[in-house]
Subunit: 348 residues, 2 copies
């Protein structure tokens, strides 16, 4: 029925071992033999049996990329960059074709663990975890345990945009400097003269949420300005939309709103407009991430640009072992303040 290595070997009049060696290219094979084998492979339309190969070699060519929300371009961009980098590295290695796949956890710790187990089952070559994590100690411990098991089994683990596991110095980590980015953003607002700043934060128990909030508060504290109202919600536009009403109810004299990210900011803008408030004349709005649509918002969004593409690509290379991770802790990826039309000095 299906063509096997043995069939190819028979056709090429060599042993299965030789065919395997030709296909994996890690053992000297005479050019003429190689050619004969390759021809047989072609003629028989042979496709390697992945599971058999993985079983025998005790490793597979799967690389898993876990993301919190695949429908969010924030993750899409990073994942895409990682896949691209992985493909690029793989194409330069004989028989190194990797199956880079992205798994959508939907932000659920349970699904994250499930995916990790599934990848562990497959003896994945590498796993990249993208995006902030839940700060629940139990889940953190469970994840750390899984990652340790994976690493132990030879799977390369890379964190991208997620704080390193404490005490685990040997998994590569890329972390966005959310704190500094948020601080710069709030400083910008303070510099414009804003003193009543509302904040629409992400889910309360996520690292990203906390870090951005901390940066925001640090800026406020440094300037001696009191913290305005803060509302937590998911990282989506609806959250921004709903939170705005709450923010305004708590402080009707708000002159600026900082959102957890650009998507949320869009919701904030919509809600503000619905109430007849103009941006930035009545209220300034700022986002975070600088996703592609942010420049097209009206007015264009002031935000903090994160080098999503670069970070994803780097994570991909790290996962392929094509780049050495720094030995002294995680790589800090800085964000860059991008000032656009959605922020301005508050009305006289």
């Amino acid at each position: 029925m299906t063509v096997t290595l043995a069939d190819v070997a028979a056709r090429a009049r060599v042993s299965p071992a030789t065919v395997s060696r030709v296909l994996n290219g890690n053992y000297p094979v005479a050019a003429s033999t190689r050619e004969r084998v390759l021809r047989a492979v072609d003629e028989l339309d042979y496709v390697l049996n992945g599971p058999a190969s993985s079983l025998a070699a005790a490793t597979s060519d799967l690389v898993g990329v876990l993301v919190n929300d695949i429908a969010d371009p924030f993750f899409g961009i990073m994942a895409s960059a990682a896949q691209g980098a992985i493909g690029e590295v793989a194409s330069g290695r004989a028989g190194g074709e990797k199956l880079a796949v992205v798994c959508n956890t939907g932000g659920s710790p349970a699904r994250e663990l499930t995916y990790l187990t599934l990848l562990q089952r497959q003896r994945a070559a590498a796993v990249i975890l993208m995006g902030g994590s839940l700060e629940d100690p139990e889940h953190l411990a469970a994840t750390a345990g899984k990652l340790a098991k994976l690493a132990e089994a030879g799977t390369r683990v890379v964190l991208c945009g997620r704080p390193p596991v404490p005490g685990d110095a040997n998994t590569a980590a890329l972390v966005f400097d959310n704190r500094t980015g948020a601080r710069l953003l709030t400083e910008h607002l303070l510099g414009l003269g804003h003193r009543r700043i509302g904040y629409v934060a992400g889910p309360a128990d996520r690292t990203t949420t906390r870090h951005r909030l901390e940066g925001h508060r640090a800026a406020l504290a440094a300037a001696g300005v009191a913290e305005g109202p803060t509302v937590h919600g998911p990282y989506d536009r609806r959250s921004g939309h709903e939170a705005t009403a709450e923010l305004l109810a708590r402080d009707p004299d708000l002159t600026a709103v900082v959102a957890a990210n650009d998507t949320v900011a869009l919701g904030v803008c919509a809600a503000l407009r619905e109430r007849g408030l103009s941006i930035p004349d009545d209220v300034s709005v700022a986002g975070f991430d600088d996703l592609p649509f942010s420049v097209d918002a009206v007015p264009a969004l002031t935000t903090v640009r994160l080098p999503l593409h670069d970070a994803g690509a780097r994570a991909g290379r790290l996962a392929m072992g094509a780049e050495e991770p720094p030995t002294d802790g995680p790589v800090a990826v800085p964000g860059e303040l991008v000032v656009r039309g959605s922020t301005a000095a508050p009305r006289g």
Copy 2:
């Protein structure tokens, strides 16, 4: 080193066969035995060896979802829905845990084929191809061949938003009715009184592009209105931005622009604004897909809503065999015209 089935068997004082049966739940095992096995699994922290299992069973628990661009929410939403549905169906079956993974082809035919081969290697349980395909006969034939091979090997193949392979009646297919959607949209514009309508199309050789363009032209033809300028480009905002200049150069008196999709429409809006043209007073703009950000554009985008989530979920169920595909051709998924602020009657 690593714990194997045999270790678990030894610990539970049963044969490996029994452990396997407990884990796969498809053979009667006494409750007490089952419990003993499960405990052993737990105590030893056993993780099934996927490759070994797949090899022996000649099938794996991988489900591949191929998308053209993972950074585009259009695909993200569908992929997310599909993964969700797959997870849901899987959780209802003992040992039916599936590893739903999304693969990003970047619209490249070569990568599409590569992924298909990789998935074939893994003996994937199912493959879902999302989004329109290239219309190159050679690539079409290559893809059709691969899909036939996959189906033959027992992999379930589902097309979502991609026209069925001619002559292949047994792979399930969900197709968006892009033609009708596009026709409705252009009819809406015509109804408002527009007679000079520019069109920013997607890449020339894609099915989606062609179908939308055909619907647009059909509406024009039915109304006896001459076709305005048309420019092709990728499905991104930049394309819309650049195409707008071209469109305006070809016909400075354009009163409306139809874009290939919402993302492109955003680019069109930006370009129009940069030239000091107001939307919809000077020029009406329409998109397609109704992605989440479209309602937040200013003005909100008139577009054609595609039930991306539903379609993705359905594709997922089809891939799991949890829903029977219709025997009489593909399922046509209709789009719904959504009229918002970006379109209005042309100026006097």
